[in-house]
Amino acid sequence: MSEHIVSKKTYYTVFLALLAGTALTVVMAFVNLHNWNIVVALLIAGAKASLVIAFFMHVKYSSKLTKMWVAVGFIWLFLLLAITMTDFLTRAWLVYKP
């Protein structure tokens, strides 16, 4: 595994994309999308994070193993959030209503 050197141009492009993403997410926050505002905000944040991970953190050029570990990290976070939220979302279902 020899190391891969990412070009400066790539870094600057990614930087501009990140700035654009930031601008976009702020603008979208002021548009009323009802329940979808949070989805859009998280999608943009996710895209920005992916750019940072892929290029700044060189994961695009790293071994499959590294890619897998990054995925594992986010999957575990998802497990924690999703399973616990299942509790809070379904807690009320069975309660007797007067």
Binding site: E3, I5, Y11, L18, T22, L42, A45, V52, L77, L89
Partner: protein, 300 residues
């Protein structure tokens, strides 16, 4: 017999003093630790270790993201109220600053990889500078909140007036960052613009099993207690984030000195790379914090 044993023992002791093993790698880099076989292996180990450390960081912040998700689900309107008094101007500015610092960090790694000690130092220093700007803005924001008594511990006052608008132009910004201009002007807004209360989301009912949405008229227009939930999350999450920034800046300072002293080379620069990974991770956390804390229900 005894002589035989003694002779064998002597032979053994003798052989102990001989070099233990033939070195397998002819070119022995001065920075190669004794237990690694090659620089390649050493670098790989460092990278893998850093990634795993970052995975633990994901789970560490994950606990707070979990608390955020749960309480946002329960008290959405309170979260919207709280989020709306955070300064979106400062938030956006800081996001840009941190993204910029990620860029300078990436460039520092680039120059380390290509063996340019001067530029490595320069970009490390730039990264530190941008990190400090971020912390300075965070300090401004925190002191605003303290002044308005929306710090969750102690005397928490709610509703509060709207967030300070932030600087009006670049000169203003520089004066604020350097502390020549007050960032908090209570007199202008103390009258208090009415705090927006969302009604399109019923306050979550499931807590202790109350079924269904609560009718709108019962909803507390200034649910101070629940806004407090938002603010402790805001301070805990941004606080732990800032702590990571401070640690990062400390490490960067050491690296900058080492880079200046030409400690790093084309072959040996993994500390710069690893710190880069850490720094970018802190950036990613902020990207999510910005979306989750500053942008809740902003639209009119």
């Amino acid at each position: 017999m005894a002589i035989l044993v003694t002779a064998r023992t002597m032979a053994l002791i003798e052989s102990e003093t001989a070099p233990e093993r033939v070195e397998m790698h002819a070119e022995h880099h001065p920075q190669l630790a004794h237990h690694f076989e090659s620089m390649e292996q050493q670098r790989e180990a460092g990278t893998l270790g850093m990634w795993w450390f970052l995975l633990t960081e994901i789970m560490f912040f994950g606990g707070m993201f979990l608390a955020y998700t749960v309480y946002r689900h329960m008290y959405f309107s309170a979260f919207a109220e709280g989020s709306n008094v955070l300064s979106i101007w400062w938030g956006t500015f800081n996001t840009a600053v941190l993204i910029g610092s990620s860029l300078t960090m990436a460039l520092a790694v680039f120059h380390a990889q290509t063996g340019n000690a001067k530029k490595t130092t320069l970009f490390l220093l730039l990264t530190i500078f941008l990190g400090l700007v971020f912390l300075r803005v965070k300090y401004i924001e925190y002191s605003d909140k303290f002044a308005e008594h929306v710090f969750p511990a102690g005397a928490f006052e709610w509703p509060t007036h709207e967030a300070p608008a932030g600087p009006h132009n670049v000169g203003d910004l520089l004066l604020m960052l350097t502390g020549f201009e007050a960032t908090h002007e209570p007199s202008v807004t103390q009258q208090g613009l009415p705090v927006k209360v969302t009604t399109n989301h019923a306050e979550a009912g499931p807590y202790y099993g109350v079924a269904g949405p609560i009718p709108e008229e019962i909803e507390n227009p200034s649910n101070a207690g629940h806004v407090r939930m938002f603010f402790w999350l805001y301070f805990a999450m941004t606080g732990f984030h800032a702590l990571h920034m401070i640690i990062g800046i400390g490490i960067l300072l050491v690296l900058a000195v080492q880079a200046w002293k030409k400690k790093f080379s084309r072959e040996y620069h993994s500390y710069v790379e690893l710190t880069g990974l850490y720094w970018h991770f802190v950036d990613i956390v902020w990207i999510f914090l910005f979306a989750l804390l500053y942008l809740v229900d902003r639209h009119p």
